[in-house]
Symmetry: C2
Subunit: 416 residues, 2 copies
């Protein structure tokens, strides 16, 4: 039991209406208990297609997890396909029906039970994992020691089903290999130069440690994945390899364990007892959101402001009108004054500011789309940077700039 | 030429490290020119696996697009697999090499050309589409009238390649069916009741118009996809069906064309000449970011604030200390005062406020995780709502609440 195949069912993914985030979540959870996802199949909601996909999936996987195609509306055919594939019948399951009844009643929706009753019909051979956050149950089927789970498609129903029920079940049932992952974040070296620099080290890695390059914006994440039976040994072996790697990329490493840049920042700020605030124009709140997405961020993030209109920058952050008139609102000078005003408003050690043109429309002052200035102010020292990213779409631009600002702050903190 | 299969290559997706957003983008772009994605295969970066996937893909697709597996590092094997699959050799392409040279020189990186030179090696039968935002070229192969495109994996390289080069090429080469999509957004009716309500209408839809239910939070998007040869006729036919649908769901429809809630809001605010501002605690900037993610939002969004620390709510938004002491910071009363202070600070017609406990840690005042109060203030009228979403993870919570706040504002505006 080591390989899993995920099947995502539903036209909303194929048509581009929805991004498939379930597969990402499930793959991560499975990886943590040593199960490797070898394929993800995204298919349409047709009985024959689903049966074919199950065939393909079981060729390589010992475990198949399907998501989607279990809702109460007529475009959902997964359950029928499952029953046909496993030579089974669909029948009303009393336990599931009672669970569903309770679920609906607690929500004061007993009146719509008729249509929902269909959801308590499951293949008779299936073992049901009850869904506490929705009406579609999760069904487990077994065939020749191979397992198939069928889940609904809504991410917030999928997450607890996987985390609280399926993962513990799999762990208990199978004795699984231990997996250890470490991520080293490198900045300031392009991927190709980095690959040259660490080639000898990479080729000398032991067989049970795999390396991947994961570029994120201007950062490259080097991921080491080690697998084996002895947890302690694995951790030690991985740490040894990282210690060999670090001198090769000296001065470019911003983290050796945490993965997300906002978590790396969280560690540093907490450790050094520093507080932070943000003043955003072109990032529109994304920077604050990224920082506050970390649990416990209220300890260091005191507040943020998005003074979108120029007059608000002047009024609330004390940016001088003369500076705006002389240099335009998208300028190094305005970024600096924003950071200064922000630091004062929120009384923090660190403040970050962004001002730029996210596009696709030109900025009011005629600056080119994709131009952004940002200031990082630590106590009474400020540094301002310029970025030019004309090829990014609006939301990607907001995200990229926010990532970069935090990344540069982390670099500054390391070297200070 | 109507069916496409997408192949996503790379262990970073299978391992759960990266969410596959490329497929979503490509599927949407193809749909717009009448090409339907019938399958998405996500596979690992192994030569045999890639060749097998190409086999499977060409069984059902006339067009195959692969992303990923073209970087300069050693875990990329796509190009070799392509050459083997198409019985071809890999050789240096002069045009691609010169393009690459120019690309690197413009970035002042002529020194790292040696490793990158590999990227100018392509299958000899391929037609190259040059990549203006990265070093991996896009290659097109053709076999028995079937087309295969191989793209890099970085989203901001994929987007312009698809949009500016591949889509125009496909449009020119094939005479494609016209596709027309409309989305009707329904709130306040659970999916199952909605399905019952419109069942007769749905069953009577003409064959060339397909209906899908896309639930997003507490909203259900009804998507009508019509395909045919005459653009005008299609539009008219779809509009007729929507006009039949509307009376069935009267009072519950918040939009009949725009898809994203922030775009629906954008239309309304622009039309009515209203301005808006935000004061966020538990959503941490996500609400502002969602509003500003719409191009042109600076016309109505004057600013936002994230007064994360309680003292900042008091100082900047004039929330009274007594209110906080009496009701705690996560309360209806504080939400109301935040919205009032926000409206005053930014001088807007509308202000939105959120205060809650995103978790996973308990709020400082002991309120349950997942509790949130939000106020929508329009001129001098304010309404406060409570939500309780204990099962959502932190980032999902921030996103769900922001969606819901905008959705409720839209409903209020419609009924005012």
């Amino acid at each position: 039991m080591e390989k899993a195949v995920l099947i995502t069912i539903g036209d909303e993914i194929l048509s581009g209406n929805t991004v498939d985030t379930n597969s990402n979540f499930i793959a991560t959870e499975l990886k943590n208990i040593g199960i490797k996802v070898t394929q993800i199949l995204t298919i349409s909601d047709e009985i024959e297609t689903i049966k074919e996909a199950l065939n393909v999936a079981f060729e390589t996987g010992d475990l198949v997890i399907t998501t989607g195609g279990l809702g109460p509306t007529r475009d959902d055919k997964t359950k029928k396909a499952l029953a046909e594939y496993f030579n089974d019948e669909i029948a009303l399951d009393e336990v599931t029906f009672n669970h569903l009844k309770g679920y609906m009643e607690r929500r004061g929706r007993a009146d719509i039970l008729e249509r929902n009753k269909e959801q308590a019909f499951v293949p008779t051979k299936s073992i049901v994992f009850q869904n506490h956050y929705g009406t579609a149950p999760c069904m487990m089927m077994e065939l020749d020691e191979k397992l198939c789970y069928s889940l609904p498609g809504v991410p917030y129903e999928v997450k607890p089903l996987i985390k609280d029920q399926i993962i513990p079940y799999l762990q208990q049932r199978f004795s699984l290999h231990y997996i250890h992952t470490r991520i080293v974040s490198v900045v300031g070296i392009p991927e190709s130069i980095l690959a040259d620099t660490i080639e000898d080290w990479e080729l000398a890695l032991p067989e049970n440690i795999a390396l991947s390059y994961l570029p994120v914006g201007t950062r490259v994440k080097l991921r080491l994945t080690a697998s084996g039976e002895n947890e302690e040994q694995l951790k030690q072996r991985t740490e040894e390899e990282i210690q060999k790697l670090l001198p090769l990329v000296e001065g470019h490493v911003i983290a050796v364990s945490e993965d997300k840049i906002e978590n790396i920042l969280a560690e540093m700020l907490t450790e050094r007892n520093l507080t932070i605030s943000t003043a955003e124009s072109c990032t529109g709140g994304e920077l604050a959101k990224m920082i506050t997405s970390v649990s416990g961020s209220s300890k260091y993030f005191l507040g943020g402001i998005v003074p979108y209109a120029t007059e608000k920058k002047i009024k609330i952050l004390n940016v001088s009108k003369e500076t705006v008139d002389q240099f335009t609102v998208v300028s190094e000078e305005v970024a600096q004054e924003m950071a200064k005003g922000c630091q004062k408003l929120f009384e923090t050690h660190i403040s970050l500011s962004t001002t730029g043109v996210a596009g696709p429309g030109k900025g009011e002052d005629g600056k080119d789309i994709g131009t952004v200035y940002y200031t990082i102010r630590i106590n009474d020292k400020a540094e301002t940077f310029k970025l030019y990213m004309p090829h990014l779409e609006r939301v990607d631009f907001m995200n990229f700039v926010s990532q970069k600002v935090i990344q540069d702050l982390v670099s500054l903190l390391i070297n200070s």
